[in-house]
Symmetry: C2
Subunit: 202 residues, 2 copies
């Protein structure tokens, strides 16, 4: 980067901000200057929040979702959630996406990635073993695959389905189909065919 | 429109072009000038194609899809199509969308609209009676609703399902769900919930 005439500490801060996704050189500089202009204690609060969040979110004990320390994740901690259903997602932010719907009432399992031979990610690189342990424990009746509806997400779901079948749980996956509020003429070919195959009784 | 200093015939042509969807005043003028610059017989060919297409596509005999004269539409005319399945769409261009997928092998029925109280479109304004007649004829085993996945399309599908149920045919509709190749985090709430409800065994 060509940030010049900045004190070394500020330059380091700009460089750190520039590593964040979606933050370019200019935004990084703007953020850095903003931090410097914050009232007394502001920079320390941001720094503490960053270190604190990271240190405490190594993955929940069972579900592998972000959690505080060794405690359960916020979903697992809720006594009203149905413990017999596990929704498998690739990423902690997919938990947020599912929760936005306010309809799913089970637990989650976060894989922290998908099987991707292209990127040298195999099953052993994902949090699959803890999922198998949870299912093997016997209280689970259904595992819903909610990996992304793309090739790698699909392949990962199929792999897990084969792995979990011996335990006698119901393994399902989110329906492919036409999104609500869209138009047929804008749907791609693959989606239309999945919507046709997955058609349901009215 | 403020098209000035044009011969009246050219002005009329510009006005006609400007009525087409997506054609503004400037495009209309450009199209009109292009027609004038076409080689001998060019303008006549365009005019004939327009009149010819319109005159011959009043709606096929049974399916109400665009067809030539009193003949069957290209889908109905194909002897290899499965005559026991009818896919109900709102618009002739939805037939094209479904055909792009190259997987559906049944026939179609084009409603030419959807029930829309807001726009004063009731069931009697659509080509519903010919659909009932086709189903009543008895050769149909399944009717697939492929109206758009929005409120009006959904309401129309539900209306038709109730109407056709007495005939003992299977009535289904295209699956709602996450589009192939998309990402969970970009899926809207309603779509995610439909994908969850419609989840399928792996």
């Amino acid at each position: 980067m060509t940030v010049e005439y900045l004190p070394p500490a500020l330059e380091t801060l700009v460089e750190q901000f520039a590593k964040l996704p979606g933050v370019g050189a200019k935004s990084a500089q703007r953020l850095a200057f903003y931090v410097l202009s914050m009232p007394e204690g502001g920079a320390e609060a941001v720094a503490q929040a960053e270190v604190g969040a990271r240190g405490r979110s190594a993955g929940g004990p069972g579900c592998q979702n972000f959690a505080e320390g060794d405690g359960p994740c916020p979903v697992c901690a809720d006594p009203r959630r149905d413990r017999s259903t596990i929704c498998v997602v690739a990423d902690p932010k997919d938990v947020t996406a599912m929760e936005r719907g306010r309809e799913y009432n089970g637990l989650y399992h976060v894989l922290h990635g998908v099987i991707s031979p292209m990127n040298h990610v195999g099953p052993d690189d994902l949090r699959i073993q803890p999922l198998v342990s949870r299912v093997a424990a016997g209280d689970v009746s259904e595992v819903i695959m909610a990996t992304n509806p793309d090739t790698e997400g699909e392949a990962t779901a199929m792999y897990l389905a084969r792995l979990l079948r011996p335990f006698g749980v119901r393994v399902t996956r989110l329906a492919y189909g036409v999104p609500v509020g869209s138009h047929l003429e804008f749907a791609d070919q693959a989606t239309l065919m999945r919507a046709l195959e997955g058609r349901q009784e009215l």
